[in-house]
């Protein structure tokens, strides 16, 4: 089901979906090389199919991404050639109609954000870069429905899709050595929230008092792939109250 041709530039043209070995104990299924909801939905649909199949017991773990699924498996239980065949069959069973998104019926998670000031030291940068006022940046950032594509980079870090391109902004020239937990940032056309303190190069426009990652919770991440997210502006003193009440 996989063919590879050469296009007129000499680069390879890949036909999706494509199944290939990633390592001696993992298999990668690619559904495309773009960031869009439909490709992403196929990734999670296949993960569910595999979890519900008899392959589940050989699987060590899944890493779903924007457009591909890595399945790490126990090489003493099964081999690539067999797995390729089985996964190929399962892909056939995953009926994804155009425009489908996962968890599309979920209610949006509302993330309270204190924008600007000490909580959002780069809000001015973003506004200047966009040619907008800081209030306009806040209004745009908090009036959009976002969706979680995947988690990665750090525990519970959500890659959110759907940001308005008017407030897109390059990363900081020099990344900060420490970004606080709850920092809400912008990098190019992406926005995200740092669940834990970490180094980071995103433009920080605000901060949420909400705890997004908790090792004692099941699941540990509040924002799972497919979750809808909106940001709700709060005043700085509300931030203090919410942190204090935890």
């Amino acid at each position: 089901m996989t063919t590879t041709d050469v296009n007129c530039d000499g680069g390879p043209v890949i036909e999706y979906p494509r199944i290939l070995p990633a390592s001696d104990s993992s298999i990668l299924i690619e559904f495309g090389d773009t960031i869009d909801y439909e490709t992403n939905a196929r990734v999670y649909a296949l993960q569910t199919e595999i979890e519900n199949s008899d392959l589940g017991s050989s699987v060590v773990e899944f890493i779903p991404s924007y457009r591909s699924l890595l399945v790490e498996y126990d090489v003493s239980e099964c081999l690539y050639a067999d797995l390729n065949e089985r996964v190929n069959d399962l892909i056939g069973k995953t009926a994804i109609s155009d425009g489908t998104t996962i968890n599309s019926d979920q209610n949006a998670h509302e993330i309270p954000v204190a924008y600007g000031g000490d909580y959002g030291p780069d809000l001015e940068n973003v506004a200047t870069h966009a040619g907008l006022t800081t209030d306009e940046v806040i209004a745009i950032h908090s009036s959009t429905d976002y969706r979680v594509f995947m988690l990665g980079f750090a525990p519970g870090f959500p890659y959110l899709g759907g940001m308005d391109s008017r407030i897109a902004c390059p990363r900081l020239a020099t990344p900060r050595t420490l970004v606080p937990a709850g920092a809400v940032g912008i990098a190019e056309s992406q926005t995200g929230v740092y669940p834990n303190p970490s180094p980071g190069g995103w433009q920080i426009i605000g901060r949420t008092p909400m705890k997004l990652f908790d090792v004692d919770a099941d699941p540990p991440s509040a924002m799972l792939p497919g979750t809808k997210v909106t940001f709700v502006p709060i005043a700085n003193d509300e931030f203090e109250t919410m942190v204090g009440s935890e």
């Binding site: 590879t4 390879p12 390592s23 924007y66 890595l70 050639a81 988690l151 980079f153 890659y159 090792v215």
Partner: protein, 374 residues
């Protein structure tokens, strides 16, 4: 009395690790865990632990530890000199340390990572199904951090002590790094973005003897020596799953072998993946060492991987050799005394309660004492 180990000197970087935090990469959580699977699994087997028990991973030796009570211990991995209370002891071998013993590891002559296992395992809290320390996200281990002098770690209960390997039990030769051929190229399979590199770049990758950089850490082994260009400079890809042994090539063209502390996803093209059996050989090479790669197919890689799994989990340990034996009569009972090897102390002596103190005071000699047929 609860057993514990106290860190007297942590060396370069001492952490609690097990086989890794599995099942949470989908939440953005790194696997972490031991770097050298062969050495770590063997260390646990030598003290009779399940493979999943937590142990200490030392970076470039220089570690000193004390144990409050009698403890079955093994040291594997890098070639270090080990001593207990000042007496030299072997690595890749089961030891039983008396209470209050001080275990010291020198700087290694070859290799980088040492594994110190204790019967019952290091019993720090389980976080998301694992005790492994991931320092960058402050998860697991002891307070999510590198160990410091004065830290005290609980040791799990050593149940079934009598059925655990005896002092002097050694690892099978097939897993001891002395039998690795360090000159041999590291075997890889092609990785998902193999075709993001043209034939010239691939030839260069396989023809180069790279040098392991000083910047190498638990997250990745960084390689100097040649720049491997992607077609049209397209080193950046849409963020994609990352995995142990993946060799990614960022835009400076310098390959990085992703290791235990890698992030679950990454945005650089991956040219190749190191096969599991050759990973110990990669992680144990010190900065400045040379490294070259050789391509194998997936079928061969998986056959080798299965052989490796079998070798590290199933190859029988080597029972201690009996150097000499004699009979001893105490309180009218005849005991069979066997000298196992210098400076090991067997637990049967405790069980039988004879001549133990005398042996401990003269720790050059160790014996097993078994009740003979009466």
């Amino acid at each position: 009395m609860n057993s514990f180990v106290e860190v007297i000197s942590p060396g370069n970087r001492l952490t609690v690790q097990d086989l890794g935090r599995r099942g949470s990469q989908r939440f953005g959580v790194s696997v972490s865990g031991v770097l050298d699977l062969a050495a770590a699994v063997t260390a646990n087997r030598l003290v009779g632990n399940p493979a999943t028990s937590a142990m200490l991973e030392a970076t470039f030796g220089g570690v000193s530890l004390s144990f409050n009570s009698e403890t079955r211990v093994a040291v594997t991995g890098a070639e270090v000199n080990v001593d207990v209370n000042g007496f030299p002891m072997p690595i890749w071998e089961t030891m039983i340390l008396p209470a209050e013993a001080v275990l010291t590891l020198s700087i290694p002559s070859t290799g980088l990572y040492s594994y110190i296992s204790v019967a019952g395992g290091i019993d720090t809290p389980i976080v998301l199904n694992s005790r492994s320390t991931h320092v960058a996200s402050a998860l697991g281990g002891h307070e999510g951090r590198i160990l410091a002098a004065g830290d005290t770690l609980p040791i799990g209960e050593d149940i079934d002590g009598q059925s655990r390997p005896r002092a002097g039990t050694t690892a099978p030769q097939s897993v001891v790094p002395g039998s690795y051929d360090r000159e041999r190229p590291v075997r890889v399979i092609s990785a998902p973005q193999y075709d993001a590199f043209d034939d010239d770049a691939k030839s260069k990758f396989f023809a180069t003897s790279f040098t392991i950089s000083n910047l190498t850490d638990r997250q990745g082994a960084r390689l100097d020596g040649a720049s491997i260009p992607a077609i049209d400079g397209k080193h950046d890809i849409v963020s994609d799953p990352a995995f142990m042994g993946a060799i990614q090539v960022p835009s400076d063209g310098k390959p990085i072998v992703l290791l235990a502390d890698r992030q679950p996803t990454g945005g650089y093209a991956k040219i190749a993946s190191v096969i599991g059996p050759d990973l110990p050989n990669v992680v144990q090479r010190t900065p400045g060492s040379e490294i070259a790669f050789e391509l194998v197919g997936i079928e061969e890689a998986q056959e080798l991987a299965r052989g490796f799994q079998k070798s590290i989990y199933k190859t029988p340990l080597v029972e201690p050799a009996r150097i000499s034996s004699s009979h001893l009569e105490v309180d009218g009972k005849t005991y069979n005394v066997q000298i196992v090897r210098p400076t090991t102390i067997e637990e049967e002596m405790v069980a039988d309660g004879i001549i133990y103190a005398d042996i401990r005071d003269h720790a050059e000699v160790a014996v097993t004492v078994e009740a003979s047929h009466e």
